[in-house]
Every structure is written in structure tokens, then in C-alpha cells.
């Protein structure tokens, strides 16, 4: 179990509990985080679960593989700390992780 803190563009903070073994996209969808769309269902083929991982959590959240990197190039306003939420696996290590949400996925 990990507590994830989602922060919207307007500063709203929503804290949710995430099960280990799930992924960040599923956690967002299950908890009504509307900024995450996840249209392809987690195949890493649509880039509509784009989010920004807070800098100090970046290393723990893992490194994007080649396919994710290519998909991130198509996301709106990608940054160094961009990730596709469907590719971030939840573990106890991520307890307390801060995730910034984009203004829009398109």
C-alpha cells in the first residue's frame, strides 16, 4: 500500500491509497482523478495518462522504456519528469509520492 498525492494545475491536492502491484493510471481512474484519461487501457499506446512525477520521487518511480519515451514525445507539454501513469508500477516504496497532473491530455 502507498499513499499517492495528486496535485492539479490549480493546486488542488487529492490523496489516495494505492495497492502495490497496481499501476498509477489504474489508481487515478479508480479514484476519479479526471485529468488522467487512460484511453487505451494501459497499453502504452495513447499517451492520455501523462503526468509529472515530483523530482524527488523520479528515481524511485522507475525509468521509461523506449516505447514510453516515444509516446511521451507525443504528449502535450512533456517535461524531464514526464511519465505515462500506466507504466508506473505501485510499490510500498512509492508511499508518499507526489504526482503533478497536466492541464490537459490533448
Amino acid at each position: 500500500m502507498a499513499l499517492i498525492k495528486f496535485i492539479s494545475v490549480n493546486g488542488d491536492v487529492r490523496e489516495v491509497n494505492a495497492d502495490s502491484g497496481s499501476n498509477l493510471m489504474q489508481v487515478a481512474l479508480d479514484n476519479g482523478i479526471d485529468e488522467i484519461l487512460g484511453e487505451c487501457g494501459g497499453s502504452c499506446s495513447c499517451a492520455t495518462c501523462h503526468c509529472y512525477i515530483a523530482e524527488d520521487w523520479l528515481a524511485k518511480s522507475g525509468t521509461p522504456d523506449e516505447i514510453e519515451q516515444e509516446m511521451l514525445e507525443c504528449a502535450l507539454d512533456p517535461a524531464k519528469n514526464s511519465r505515462l501513469a500506466c507504466q508506473v508500477n505501485i510499490s510500498n516504496e512509492l508511499d508518499g509520492m507526489v504526482v503533478h497532473l497536466p492541464e490537459s491530455q490533448y
Partner: protein, 335 residues
């Protein structure tokens, strides 16, 4: 499919099929139209095929309609002006001098009974070679052309005027799940291997069909796709036939599709394809493209498809590679 909505043009670089050798015997001309150009192909008395723009520089007559082969040149049907295979005017029958303006010529190659042209908007000479239906597959299946029935005419079919972009058609080469739905395949082929080779000109996949009974892979097929023009498919196992599928732009809105089947001879048999095999190929093998066309004709291109997990890697790799066949800078001249 509305080709004008596509994010890529109908002017890709590469080799494209334009005919079968058997369609153009020595001493004959054939009018053609590809890439928005009126073209004429003619085979000289030396047996060599030539391809050039169709219209005579004199008054614009089409050399492919009524033009006649004279030696290794073609004679215009309008006033008898004679043009050679390099596009040079070699004779004006009723005056002594000739004109200097040349007709544009195109590189052609013929192999295993099929004719291909090289298309390159920069006018560069061929940048890579085409796979060969026999020589390129020796390691996979070492059979010679003589072990198959002649392809022309019974192993060939064309779809002359389709609203389809060639690039779309080659997405089948990584699409394992369409076989079940489009072609009624009883088994789902498994993508076993995938790589890009021959200086990036060939995308190669190896698919396997598992037997339901034994659960072993009973048949495999090796596919080499050259650019966005042609795919060479070799089946090995229960069946051992070979298929060339080609798609060639006619203009900005339509393509011509070609299908060629090499069917294995029965041991020691010579001569042309027996009638019973002709019928089978016509009714069962050369119909697969009809099935694909039901989808392709009416498809709306999805730039960022919602792929299933198992397809993401292959589709992304294929589309990224396909994007490399457009808007190439002129090839560097080798001194």
C-alpha cells in the same frame, strides 16, 4: 479511405511493382500511369524493358497508345519520331537533324517474372536493392524458381483502382490478430521474430502457426517488406507457396494492388499450372486481398491507434520505419 487526410504523401521513395514480365513481350509497348505520371513501357528486340514518360516532345502524343517498337526504340504514332531507351530522339523521319530535348526515363528492374520501377522524387538513382523471392530466402527455404509453376498468368491478379495508400496495406505484416477476423484463419499466427535489415530498406517478420492438435509450430512464414511498396512472403511447412503483394500509387487518390503466387510443383512435374490448381489459387488464394479491401476501402486512418498491449512494440517499430520513406534528401553522388 480518403487519402487526402493522411499525414504522409503518395510520393514515397522505393521500388514499386508496375507489371508482370509476361504482359510485355519483346517488340510491344504498354501504356502505364503511376505517381501521377503518364508512362510508357516497351521491350526492345534485345529483350530489355524500358520505362519513360509517355508523351512525345514533338506534339505530345502518348507513345503507349499506338507507338511501335523499332529495334530498341519506340516510334511515335503521330509523326513517326523515334525515341531510344535513354529518352533521346534518334530519328525524325522527314528531316536530317534530331532534337536535343530528352524524355524522362525511369529505372526498372525485372526479377522472377515481375517488373518494378524505382520512384524517387529527387530523381536519385536506386538507393537500395529489392529483396528477391528466391535469392533472399535461401537460409529460410532453399527452393529454386524451377520448383514452382510459372506465375503468369494464372498466379497473378491485380486490383487496378483502389482508394488505398500502400503504407496501410503493409501494416498486416505485424498484425497477428487480423487473420482470424479478416481471413477466417482458424489459428492466430504468432510473431516469432522481427527485425530491420538491408541498410534499413527491409522490415522482416517471422510468424508461426501452431497446430491445435500437437501444439507445435507446424508452419512458418517469413515476410520481407521493402519500403512501402512490396512484401515478399515465403511459407514453409504444411504449405510451401510464396506470395508477392505490391501496392503502387497511381495518383494522389488511388493505388494499384498486385498479387503474385508461386505454387509448388508436384515432384518431377513440368509445364504449366494444372487446371485444378489454377482454380484453387483463383478461388482460395487470390481472394485474400478482397477480404483486406473490405476494410481498407472504408477505413479512416488513425494516427495514434489505441493498440492492444501485444501489438504496441511491433506497430510502433513498423510505423517509425515506414516514415523513413518520404521526403528523402537527394542521394549523395559517389565519385
Amino acid at each position: 479511405m480518403n487519402l487526402k487526410e493522411l499525414p504522409f504523401s503518395m510520393k514515397p521513395v522505393g521500388w514499386f511493382q508496375i507489371a508482370w514480365s509476361g504482359e510485355i513481350p519483346a517488340g510491344e509497348v504498354k501504356p502505364l500511369r503511376y505517381f501521377g505520371e503518364d508512362l510508357v513501357a516497351f521491350r526492345g528486340e534485345d529483350g530489355e524493358l524500358r520505362l519513360m514518360n509517355a508523351h512525345c516532345h514533338h506534339m505530345g502524343a502518348h507513345l503507349g497508345h499506338g507507338g511501335k517498337v523499332k529495334g530498341n526504340c519506340v516510334t511515335c504514332p503521330y509523326h513517326g519520331w523515334v525515341w531510344n531507351g535513354e529518352g533521346k530522339n534518334v530519328e525524325i523521319p522527314y528531316q536530317e537533324n534530331t532534337i536535343n530535348k530528352r524524355i524522362k526515363t525511369w529505372h526498372v528492374t525485372e526479377q522472377h517474372g515481375c517488373v518494378f520501377m524505382w520512384h524517387d522524387p529527387t530523381g536519385s538513382a536506386p538507393r537500395w536493392e529489392l529483396p528477391h523471392m528466391f535469392d533472399s530466402f535461401r537460409e529460410f527455404s532453399d527452393r529454386d524458381e524451377s520448383e514452382f509453376y510459372p506465375i503468369y498468368p494464372h498466379g497473378t491478379r491485380r486490383w487496378p483502382n483502389e482508394p488505398v495508400h500502400p503504407q496501410i496495406t503493409f501494416e498486416n505484416s505485424v498484425d497477428s490478430m487480423h487473420f482470424r477476423y479478416v481471413h477466417d484463419s482458424p489459428l492466430d499466427p504468432m510473431l516469432l521474430e522481427m527485425d530491420i535489415r538491408e541498410n534499413d530498406s527491409v522490415f522482416r517478420t517471422l510468424f508461426g502457426f501452431k497446430s491445435v492438435r500437437t501444439n507445435n509450430i507446424e508452419m512458418t512464414f517469413d515476410t520481407r517488406t521493402s519500403g512501402v511498396g512490396c512484401s515478399f512472403n515465403v511459407f514453409k511447412g504444411a504449405y510451401n507457396y510464396r506470395v508477392l503483394f505490391s501496392a503502387t500509387p497511381i495518383d494522389d487518390e488511388t493505388s494499384e494492388l498486385f498479387n503474385t503466387i508461386w505454387w509448388e510443383r508436384k515432384d518431377g512435374e513440368a509445364g504449366d499450372m494444372p487446371l485444378v490448381i489454377q482454380e484453387r489459387i483463383k478461388n482460395e488464394i487470390l481472394t485474400t486481398v478482397d477480404e483486406d479491401l473490405l476494410v481498407w476501402r472504408h477505413q479512416k486512418y488513425v494516427d495514434r491507434p489505441m493498440l492492444a498491449k501485444q501489438d504496441v512494440k511491433a506497430f510502433n517499430m513498423l510505423r517509425k520505419w515506414q516514415a523513413g520513406f518520404y521526403d528523402l534528401p537527394p542521394a549523395e553522388q559517389v565519385d
